[in-house]
Each structure stands twice: as structure tokens, then as C-alpha cells.
């Protein structure tokens, strides 16, 4: 390709300028806006210049703040995680009643549909099961499914993305065609199909996979294509950078370059995106549970609880509202935290 004509400008890739395009209003105003934007960029460069030399700048000069919203979100999420992890301990210690069994009322008569006065934190459902306990046990399901499906999705999707973006050519075409194929299916239908397939069994036999594993498998498969695309795009950018070429001149093998040069650069932004992915996965599990496709009763799941509770909305709204609120807050907190983390990493990136 003809060499770029910018003397002294970084050679990112042939023919591709490293500066963003300017699209601005017409006429003299456009010129002035452009000039101001150019000046803005200069200021940013100056700012960047002065973040570059730690010798000359006091170490405590800059503290990136994540913000109170982040900490609030992180706090809620942490609470959920702690409760979920501690559930077996709490049960053994007697704080957490069995979620599948009816609880005894302290003062009869106890309403079938649960009353806060009776001393149970969040009341009981129509079968007198403690809602708080069910929430905590349901949290275990949601968190496990959410994190493991995204984890496997990152591993598998990440591998596909890095290989496709690094080798390009036919391999890339094939891999991307496959992932596009999966992207073409509506996610819920795909998940449905996978779960159904994975957990059908002939009468009398054990199902091929436990329902929980099936759900994780389904969500993993659904999450792989978008992750693969993201990782591939990021890989394409980094594979063009000169340090990759330098590694090649040093005689590094392709595998070594991918693992040591590309992945460490691609991973951090993807990681922050992964947190939002977990939020999506938890919502997805909730939806599946709502449809009755996740863990079967009497095992508690948030989606299942919402499903059960909707019939009793008028009489005992807390049955449906509590799991809704918990699901909402958990997903929200993950989104907020993920967003803030993404921005936090981005700022550092822009200095590089």
C-alpha cells in the first residue's frame, strides 16, 4: 500500500489517519468550530503530556473518582453476593428457613398469604414459604447462572474473537459467519431450544443435563456471538499496532503474540463490558424462570417467584413486588457499576 504521507505522524495502518473526522455545521461557523476543536485537542494533548511524566508531577495529583453512585450500586450487589454465599451457613445456623417448606406461624392464625407482622422479614408466599429465604436462595441461582454463563462466554467468545481478528482471511470469514448465524436467532428462542433439547429425556431416564446446567449452557451460547464480535473488533485494532509487528520481528510465535500482546490489551475493556453482560444474563435467567424453563419448583428462582406472584397481585402484592424489586436493583447495580468501571478504564486508555 502506498505509505501514508504524514511525516512524523504515527503509522497506525496504511491509509488510515489517526485523527477523528470532523463533521460540523456549514460556513464560517464550521471553520470556527473546527478550529476550536483543534484547539481543544491541543489542550487535551497538553493535558496528556502532563500526565505522562510522573517524575515531574506529585503522585497524589490525580485521583480518579468512581462516584457515590458506583459505591451504592457496588454495596447493594455485594450484599446480594454475601447473602447468597452465606445461605447454607445461615440455614444451618437457623436464621434462614427452608425455602421449600411452609413455615410455622408464631401466632396463629397466620395468613396463608404472609404478613410482615409475623416476624418474617419479607413475609411469606401463598404456600407459607418465607420470601426472604426464597430470595436468598434464588439469588444463588441467578448469580451462578449469570456469572458462569458470561465467564464461559468470555472464554469461548474471546478465543473466537481473537483468533478471527488476528488471523483474518478465510478463518475469520468462517468464524464470523458461524457467529452471525447464531446472532440471527432471537436469543430467547435459541435459549429455549437449547434448554429443551438439553433437558429432554426419555421417560424413566435421567435428563441429559440438569436444568441449571442447561440454562448456563444456553446463555453461554447466546452470549458468545456478541462477545466474539466485540473481541474481534478490538483485536483488529491492536493487531495493527506496531508492537505486534515488533513481537513478530523478535520471532514470537502466533500463539505467544495472541496471548502475551493482544489479550492483555483486549481484555480490560471487555471485562468491564462483561459486568454489564452479567446483568443481562441475570435478566435472561429471570425471563426463562418466569417462563418455567429454569429450575423447577419447589426450587426458588426470582423469575419463578414473579410468575407465582402475579396471580396474587391484588391480595398480596409483595409476593410479586419483592422479587421484582430485588431483580431490578441487582441488575441496575450491575449496570451502573459496569458503566462506571468502563469509563474508569477508558480514561486511562486515552492517556496511553
Amino acid at each position: 500500500m502506498p505509505e501514508p504521507s504524514h511525516r512524523g505522524a504515527p503509522v497506525d495502518a496504511p491509509g488510515i489517519s489517526s485523527r477523528p473526522e470532523i463533521d460540523a455545521p456549514a460556513g464560517g461557523a464550521r471553520e470556527m468550530l473546527e478550529l476550536t476543536q483543534l484547539a481543544d485537542r491541543e489542550v487535551e494533548e497538553l493535558q496528556a503530556l502532563h500526565t505522562l511524566d510522573p517524575d515531574q508531577v506529585p503522585a497524589d495529583a490525580v485521583k480518579k473518582r468512581l462516584g457515590p453512585l458506583f459505591w451504592f450500586a457496588a454495596g447493594w450487589f455485594l450484599l446480594i453476593v454475601v447473602l447468597a454465599l452465606a445461605a447454607p451457613l445461615m440455614e444451618r445456623a437457623g436464621f434462614l428457613p427452608d425455602p421449600t417448606k411452609a413455615v410455622k406461624c408464631a401466632n396463629p392464625p397466620c395468613s396463608k398469604l404472609g404478613i410482615l407482622k409475623q416476624g418474617y422479614l419479607l413475609g411469606t408466599d401463598n404456600l407459607s414459604r418465607d420470601i426472604f429465604s426464597r430470595i436468598v436462595w434464588g439469588a444463588r441461582v441467578s448469580l451462578l447462572v449469570g456469572f458462569s454463563s458470561i465467564f464461559f462466554g468470555l472464554v469461548l467468545g474471546g478465543a473466537i474473537g481473537v483468533i478471527a481478528g488476528f488471523f483474518k482471511g478465510k478463518l475469520e470469514t468462517v468464524l464470523m459467519a458461524l457467529t452471525d448465524m447464531f446472532l440471527a436467532f432471537p436469543a430467547i428462542l435459541l435459549a429455549l431450544a437449547i434448554i429443551t433439547f438439553a433437558s429432554t429425556s426419555n421417560p424413566g431416564e435421567e435428563p441429559r443435563l440438569s436444568r441449571q446446567v442447561a440454562v448456563i449452557l444456553a446463555l453461554t451460547i447466546v452470549s458468545v456471538p456478541p462477545i466474539a464480535r466485540l473481541v474481534r473488533a478490538s483485536t483488529l485494532v491492536f493487531a495493527q499496532r506496531e508492537f505486534v509487528l515488533a513481537a513478530r520481528t523478535l520471532g514470537a510465535s502466533n500463539l505467544r503474540i495472541m496471548v502475551k500482546e493482544i489479550v492483555p490489551n483486549v481484555l480490560p475493556p471487555i471485562f468491564a463490558f462483561g459486568i454489564i453482560g452479567v446483568a443481562i444474563a441475570i435478566t435472561a435467567e429471570g425471563a426463562l424462570a418466569f417462563l418455567g424453563l429454569s429450575l423447577q419448583p419447589p426450587n426458588p428462582t426470582w423469575g419463578g417467584m414473579i410468575n407465582d406472584g402475579q396471580k396474587f397481585y391484588l391480595d398480596a402484592p409483595h409476593m410479586v413486588l419483592v422479587p421484582c424489586a430485588v431483580l431490578f436493583l441487582t441488575v441496575l447495580s450491575l449496570n451502573l457499576a459496569g458503566d462506571r468501571l468502563r469509563e474508569y478504564f477508558d480514561i486511562k486508555e486515552s492517556v496511553l
Partner: protein, 380 residues
């Protein structure tokens, strides 16, 4: 201009690296057109020598450097290094030769992995080839960093973005040196650096060359910089070689019209020299997708004749170590056109109202029996 031919190459036994008839072509998207980035370029370099490869953007000098390194392999040609032809060598064997040939790039910050520490970056080559481990590895890294002027203690755990451009380039040089290569190709190593830092890096390269017994190929667009560091200079234009000569000779007696134009365009920090219209090279560089036939420089050359469009000039010797690919080189047989004539031709070429002016013919005795009005010989 368009130089083909290998007359300027020295005997194969003498040279460390010998690239013959390199051709690099890229397809343009799906149009079926090809970019002729490098067309039949041959260069060689002796052990301990610095070869300067100079030319403006689009001339193919960087592409030549990368083709020599087989990154990627050229479309055709031979690259003889250490007894092997790199172009036909299988990948695994090629990889094993890599420690002998290293490269330094234009953008020092982009050449370093932003996520890794400096000590890891410089140690990486040793780890790849398992040349050293543990304390011995650390020692080598430390010594190399000191040699390039980076304080190892301060830099060890830092990342590239904490260093300036000049310091990053030093780190890149350290990384290249740690394997004790025979040859280092420097692709515009100082173009992205500030003037005061440039001098530091150029001096450093010379020192390292002496200390590590290196051979350098120095690629740049700045003729003054190239002249300063090289033992031999090759000038390129639009994928072809124009002229090869020792640097002082090239400056004092340029033979190729392009070289002369290049020399005259360089701004000189001397206020008594007022650059004027005469001597400025007019026109634009043609597209490498459809380069001119015969001599590629003919569309801008003040000395062009009919022959130049039909016959591609080959490299031939015109002085000690001095080779040129031109039918009508400066100072060649036959008087130079007078300054007035030259100015007239230049003006005709640079007039803004005509796109492709017909250059007036030179009124000089024909060169070696070929008359300007004789029927064209079939292309050689």
C-alpha cells in the same frame, strides 16, 4: 529514473545482506488494480556498514525494509542473508533466523505494548528464545537499558506511557539489541521525535552500532539525517532506485535529476540562501497504481526525452561506488543544459494552467549514439 538492474550490487560473498529484484505489489480492494509499491529493487549491505535508504512518501522505502524482513514476504525476488534465501525459506526456519535481524519503527510509543512493564518488554526476546533466565536475564536487561541511556532502576516497573517519545525509542532500541543481532533495519526512527531528541537518538544509534558490531539499514525521508549516519545512500522514487552513492559524493555530485531536485528542496538554515522558484520540482508524484512507463520520474524530470518513456533505465556505474539509473544523468556525457534553459523548462513544468506540459527537448548531442529523433528501440 526507475532503476532496475543489479550492477550496483557487490559480490555476494562480500555482503551480509543482499536483496535482489524485490517486487512488492498489493491488490487494491476488489478492483483488480495493483499498487506497485516496490518494483525490482536490489540493494545490499556489507557487514559493519550503514546503508541509508531515502525517498519521499510513496517511494516504497519502508515497504522495501519490511520486505527484507519478510513482513510480509515480497511478491517476488531474493533476499540472501547468512547463506539463506529468506523469501523461499519455510516459516519455521525463517523464525529461527529472526534474532539475527531486528527492526526499529517510526512511532516509538506504538511500538511498545502499553500493558507491559519495560523490564518485561526488554526481556521478552530473551524469553522467547530461552537465551537466559532468572538473575542472568535480569542482568542482561539491566546492562542493555544502561547502554541505551535508560536508568534501569527507575524504568524497571514502569509502563511505556510514562515515558517520552525519545525514551520509548531508546527502549525499542534496547529490545532490539538484547538478542545481539547482526542487522538492524531502522524504519524512520527519528521522524516522530522532536529536533533536540533526534540528535540524541542518532548519536545513540551510532554508538550502539560500534558497541554491538551492528550493520544498519537506515530508512528515512530526511536526506540530511540519512547523509549523517550512512556509509552508502540509495535514493528511491515511486518504487524504483534512482541512485546509489557514498553520501558525500551524492551530495557533492548528484547524478540523478531527482536527487538534485531533492537536495535543492531541503530547507537550509542559512539566511543568505533565499530559495526561489527555479530549482523547485514541479508537478505531483504519479499514482503507484499506474506508474509511468519507462522511467517513472519522467513526468517531472527537466531532462526528459522520448527515450525515457520507452526504455527503462538500468543502474550503471558513473563513478567510484556511484551508480545511477538514468538515461541522461547530470554531469554525464554531454554538456548540461544551461541554467537559463533549465529554468525555462522548470517554469514550463510548473505553470499552473497546464496539467501535462510538453517539455521542450534538450539540445545536446545524443548519448551513446541514440538520437533523440531516432525510431524507438524495443523496450529492453
Amino acid at each position: 529514473m526507475a532503476g532496475s538492474g543489479t550492477e550496483h550490487l557487490r559480490p555476494a560473498g562480500d555482503t551480509l545482506l543482499r536483496a535482489e529484484n524485490l517486487v512488492v505489489e498489493f491488490p487494491v480492494g476488489r478492483t483488480g488494480l495493483k499498487v506497485h509499491a516496490v518494483s525490482d529493487v536490489s540493494i545490499d549491505v556489507r557487514a559493519g556498514e550503514t546503508l541509508g535508504l531515502v525517498g519521499e512518501s510513496g517511494c516504497g522505502k519502508s515497504t522495501t525494509g519490511r520486505a527484507i524482513m519478510q513482513l510480509p514476504r515480497p511478491t517476488s525476488g531474493r533476499v540472501l542473508f547468512d547463506g539463506h534465501d529468506l523469501v523461499t525459506l519455510p516459516s519455521s526456519e525463517l523464525r529461527r533466523l529472526r534474532p539475527e535481524m531486528q527492526m526499529i519503527f517510526q512511532d516509538p510509543i506504538s511500538s511498545l505494548n502499553p500493558r507491559r512493564k519495560v523490564s518485561q518488554i526488554v526481556a521478552e526476546p530473551l524469553r522467547i528464545w530461552k537465551r537466559a533466565a532468572g538473575d542472568q536475564l535480569d542482568k542482561i536487561v539491566e546492562t542493555t537499558l544502561e547502554n541505551v541511556g535508560i536508568d534501569p532502576a527507575a524504568a524497571w516497573d514502569r509502563r511505556p506511557h510514562q515515558f517520552s517519545g525519545g525514551q520509548c525509542q531508546r527502549i525499542c532500541i534496547a529490545r532490539a539489541l538484547v538478542l545481539n543481532p547482526k542487522l538492524i533495519i531502522c524504519d524512520e526512527p527519528v521522524s516522530a521525535l522532536d529536533v533536540s531528541v533526534q540528535a540524541q537518538i542518532l548519536n545513540l544509534l551510532e554508538e550502539m552500532k560500534a558497541q554491538y558490531n551492528l550493520t544498519l539499514i537506515f530508512i528515512a525521508h530526511d536526506l540530511a539525517v540519512v547523509k549523517n549516519v550512512s556509509d552508502r545512500v540509495a535514493v528511491m522514487y515511486l518504487g524504483k532506485l534512482c541512485e546509489v552513492a557514498p553520501p558525500d559524493e551524492l551530495y557533492a555530485r548528484p547524478a540523478h535529476p531527482y536527487t538534485e531536485a531533492l537536495l535543492r528542496s531541503i530547507p537550509v538554515p542559512d539566511p543568505s540562501i533565499r530559495p526561489g522558484e527555479e530549482g523547485t520540482l514541479g508537478g505531483e508524484i504519479p499514482s503507484p497504481v499506474a506508474p509511468p512507463s519507462g522511467c517513472r520520474f519522467r513526468t517531472r524530470c527537466p531532462r526528459v526525452q522520448d527515450m525515457c518513456a520507452q526504455v527503462e533505465p538500468k543502474m550503471r556505474q558513473i563513478g567510484l561506488g556511484h551508480y545511477v539509473a538514468c538515461h541522461f544523468p547530470l554531469d554525464a556525457i554531454g554538456p548540461k543544459p544551461g541554467a537559463a534553459q533549465l529554468a525555462q523548462q522548470m517554469n514550463a513544468m510548473t505553470s499552473p494552467t497546464t496539467r501535462r506540459p510538453v517539455p521542450p527537448k534538450l539540445v545536446t548531442p545524443p548519448v551513446s549514439g541514440v538520437s533523440a529523433s531516432a525510431p524507438p528501440k524495443p523496450a529492453g
